[in-house]
Symmetry: D3
């Protein structure tokens, strides 16, 4: 199955040769959701962490992690990222609240930024957990997935 | 709410002072699950990636990421990890297969290794995604959570 | 001059052998000051960067850099930091405002955390510069120095 | 105030989207000064650190730090640096000597290298401090600032 | 001797200015050999490390290290690598077996990837040593050298 | 074969659990040799790189790499190094000169520093190559091996 491009003939992982691919503008959006209790949500909203905002720390951590993606994910190519931003939205859920985290990443290069976007939201979710775990360790990081990507030979991709 | 220990009086995040805490043996287990299609599962099982094994790459990436946790999660204390191992289990699901990833981490120190275990499984899941995404980009990383922790003043914790 | 402990007999830098030193509680406080124009100070105070706060980013960057000190300063020993916090104070100056940044670091180890504290305030100052340089590139980072250190065989030190 | 380009609408820091900017040749020069006592200056000049030269270590540390800038300063874009060099000059001061450190950095890219140059001189100064602090802990890092930058849409900049 | 391009007029190392060099396609192949005992070779071949394969770990470590070359070798320029693969071959030797490791790296840039290829094989050899040293610490890493490079103004190079 | 301690039951590499091991003083010495032509040796000795000294850069790079060992070698435990120094000796060889590089590392911990010493000399040799390759690309890094280690349950080890 030639689709497993990340493997060589001996079954060992390689960094795929992209030297012949075109430089195009590429974007990727990834999403992660973290489920929190009403108690924790209220504590955050009511300013019980004073002026502090866990989303600030989560966004900074996510951006810094996106820049480290090629150091974290073994076969990722180094990429010169050209822009990263996040949105955060709280939604009432059955048992409390869901915090929906989205990261959008842009670059122009020979390979896409899907892994960078997925790494960014994963680390943002882990950082939110870390900043709030003294109050509630039962938080669960729920669905983490690629929402969309554009650019590159394999074409655009939209989840679902 | 004094429980938000990661914040100082001005609402800015700090690295909590743990100098007065005791050195104890600490363990943490975290879990992440990745949903894959039957097509992708069959390709892996039928050896279509030849001798290659995405779980090898995922485990190595997860162990290396656990060692980088204090560099990835802003307020994490540096910790001298003393042992890390993973289990991987495939389970039939409604729409394909679930790969259940667990990491167990040990150390003796003044603070726990929950974030290290959560980072390890998150990066293992992201790496599995990266190694297989040429075949199927629709994989979703599902529940990521702390299964249990032992050791430390705040006592043991078991999910649910 | 035996005081130049960081050099070997051939005049090349070495990492000093501290294996015979005692583990003691050690603290260090370092300070850096950044001079900004009244125009920039007013923009920040009047909320012209909306809810954003450059001190949040500076503090997070400073804490993360302190953890990287042994990777940045060639002959520094790796140290397990146990607590870091910052204070920030604006003071009216002759030509605008001074932002006075102090970092306090704690550990128990065989060597001190002076370089970690100096690195923390330097990176916090550089980050403040980066977050505001689109408004004013003329900011100057003024005096950066070790305010005090305690613990260790060489005794306590207080600036001036 | 649209000039605070590093912040999004919610007041959280973002990595600015530079994908539409032109690739141009860019240079930056930054300067830092470190004040040292006559006693320390004499010890260095009289070869009391044998053949050793703290400026060698400072220059190497500064070049390596410049390459890490995007990992140290949270919102900095990764940049492919194309050349870095330093000058060091000792000058007699009122109370001893001033060591004036300048770093010049070149690249061709979509964003400038000001932060890289400032990081380079800051880390060179911190490293000089580290290599000599066993002799004299009272050294003070004095003015650190951007001397000039060229290239890019915002035009050239010269200090004062 | 102007050939020592990595040094400035004061005898301190600099990162060479490559801004005027052309972007060309560049490749490099490096080789390292590790000598192992018949006992260790047999243990690996007979599956005594069960399904485990030290070459998997060595290849992954070598690829990740190649991406870190500019962080490890002080005067190396950062480079955007575009493809890395390895070959491993065991050969009977006088006293046991030789494992011959070759890495091939591709990029298009202003400077070559010789140091990246040499770093890749060196780290692959060190990792093989680490994975097997519990069985046999007497392994010796033998000749490590640049096999060939193509591209760039200085022309192609072939060992011997 | 239980000696392959770095592998779990499924044949995947793990970070060995050392939590039950004793903290002891540990040392390791490793050696690497680089063969250089008479032309290159003479150029260095005759001061053709002015005041510059490739051994300075090699030693600094080796010390910094030793501190990164757990980040470079996948299954290495993080270790708090307590002292590192190098010796360099040139010896006349059949075809030119051999530069013999030795690194000595100390720590007190639950696991040894063999990989740190081997990484230190390997990176020192690679850095020497990088600093001189503009003059002569035919240098070969010859035998790299563990000279001795002391401390730890497995006892002392001396090469040959």
């Amino acid at each position: 199955m030639s689709d497993f491009t990340h493997w060589n003939e001996e079954g060992r992982p390689k960094m795929v040769d992209i030297s012949q691919k075109d430089v195009t503008t590429r974007t990727a959006i990834a999403q992660s959701t973290i489920a929190l209790s009403t108690k924790l949500y209220d504590a955050i909203q009511n300013g019980l962490i004073k002026k502090g905002d866990p989303l600030q720390v989560a966004q900074i951590a996510g951006i810094m992690a996106a820049k480290k993606t090629a150091d974290i994910i073994p076969m990722c190519h180094p990429i010169i990222l050209q822009g990263i931003d996040f949105t955060f939205n709280y939604q009432k859920s059955e048992n409390g609240y869901d915090l929906i985290i989205q990261a959008t990443i842009k670059c122009s290069g020979k390979t896409g930024v899907e892994m960078e976007a997925l790494t960014a939201v994963s680390v943002a979710a882990l950082t939110f957990y870390d900043m709030c775990k003294a109050v509630d360790k039962t938080m669960v990081i729920k669905e983490t997935f690629l929402v969309q990507k554009t650019g590159g030979k394999s074409g655009d991709f939209f989840h679902k």
